[in-house]
């Protein structure tokens, strides 16, 4: 009987201590949302380039458009340049990768670019995105870049090129 009493006393003390600690604590959720790293890559090869194709300048300044979609259709917006069929051009293609079903914002570092023939001749162009947002369906989305190229009446013959940058960010 004596031993039994001592044990009960110890239990009582522990319970008291526990009660004291409980009164000072609070419970909160701890969460983290780990996102897949977002990737944005230009499709390798000619299909990845924004290409206005082969053009013969006209007698006046001309604007050549490439639609910012999968077809990358070329047309003469103004002027009288000849769009030569040997190269019909195409839109630029980029692949976005990341968290499935996430939505990303898209932008161009600069919508105005200047193509150069590597010497003194240049041509200005204005870029356009296929959309300003994209949903990564299944973790992937394809976007396109088109734009307007301004060709002067006396544009120097040659191959013109430049680079541009597309930015993507999780919303």
């Amino acid at each position: 009987m004596k031993s039994t009493f001592k044990i009960l006393a110890m239990v009582a003390v522990l319970m008291a201590a526990a009660t004291t600690v409980s009164a000072q604590s609070a419970t909160a959720d701890a969460t983290a949302n780990i996102l897949s790293a977002l990737g944005c890559s230009n499709t390798v090869g000619d299909a990845g380039d924004l290409d206005w194709g082969d053009i013969v300048p006209g007698g006046s300044q001309s604007v050549v458009n490439i639609t910012s979609d999968a077809t990358g259709t070329r047309s003469l917006s103004s002027g009288d340049a000849t769009l030569v069929a040997t190269d019909d051009g195409n839109s630029a293609e980029f692949t976005l990768t990341g968290l499935a079903d996430a939505v990303v914002d898209l932008s161009l570092t600069s919508a105005s670019i200047t193509l150069s023939d590597g010497a003194a001749a240049t041509m200005d162009a204005t870029l356009s995105l296929s959309s300003t947002t994209a949903t990564l369906t299944g973790g992937t989305a394809i976007i396109y870049v088109g734009g307007d190229l301004t060709v002067a009446a006396s544009q120097t013959t040659g191959s013109y090129t430049t680079t541009f940058e597309v930015n993507a960010q999780y919303q």
Binding site: I34, L35, S36, A37, L38, G39, C40, S41, N42, G48, D49, L50, D51, W52, G53, D54, I55, V56, P57, V64, T82, V84, A85, T86, D87, G89, A92, F94, L96, G98, T109, I113, L115, D117, M123, A125, L127, V145, G147, L149, V151, Q155, T156, T157, G158, S159, Y160, T161, T162, T163, F164, E165, V166, N167, A168, Q169, Y170
Partner: protein
């Protein structure tokens, strides 16, 4: 000791957040290109001429200007090809962007007729146009290329004498 542990945990969290920040955005670089070509220009250096011909009184004939071998022949053998003028192929010089290919489109068989300059008579039809190069040519390193044109002339029986002339179109396009 307890303080040291707290500092270590805080540092770890900071590094994780930093890595997460890099993954939230991405950039891709694309290339914009365009090719400006020279306008193709064609100049005639020599007229396609079928020469002097004496038609047969009863039978029609076809006279051909060749691009190789014998310059001029009578297909059916009825007309007399006079040596006073043996005829000549049409010769053109085309200019464009160096080393680029181009196609040559020639007139069809019922598109070109020669008419008597003084009027009267029956028009003579041209057919079977040929070119050298055939169908496809390439500008040389200076952006120039000569090409020649031949054809057949349908001469009627007892064709009225006189000078006959007409025009034909040859179209060159980049290919």
């Amino acid at each position: 000791m307890k303080n040291i542990k707290s500092i270590f945990i805080a540092t770890t969290i900071s590094v994780l957040l930093s890595n997460l920040g890099f993954g939230q955005s991405a950039s891709g670089t694309g290339t914009g290109t365009a090719e400006i070509l020279d306008a193709i220009q064609v100049t005639s250096d020599q007229t396609l001429h079928f020469g002097d011909i004496m038609s047969h009184y009863f039978y029609p004939d076809v006279v051909r200007i060749n691009l190789s071998g014998t310059n001029r022949i009578s297909i059916l053998g009825w007309a007399i090809l006079l040596p006073s003028n043996d005829g000549q192929p049409g010769v053109f010089t085309a200019t464009g962007t160096p080393n680029r290919n181009f196609t040559i489109t020639l007139p069809g068989d019922y598109e070109v007729y020669l008419s008597r300059d003084l009027g009267g008579g029956v028009d003579m039809r041209l057919e079977n146009f040929v070119s050298d190069p055939n169908v496809l040519g390439t500008f040389d390193g200076t952006g120039s290329r000569e090409f020649r044109i031949g054809a057949q002339l349908v001469v009627g029986a007892n064709q009225l004498e006189g000078w006959y002339s007409g025009t034909y179109d040859v179209t060159l396009e980049y290919f």
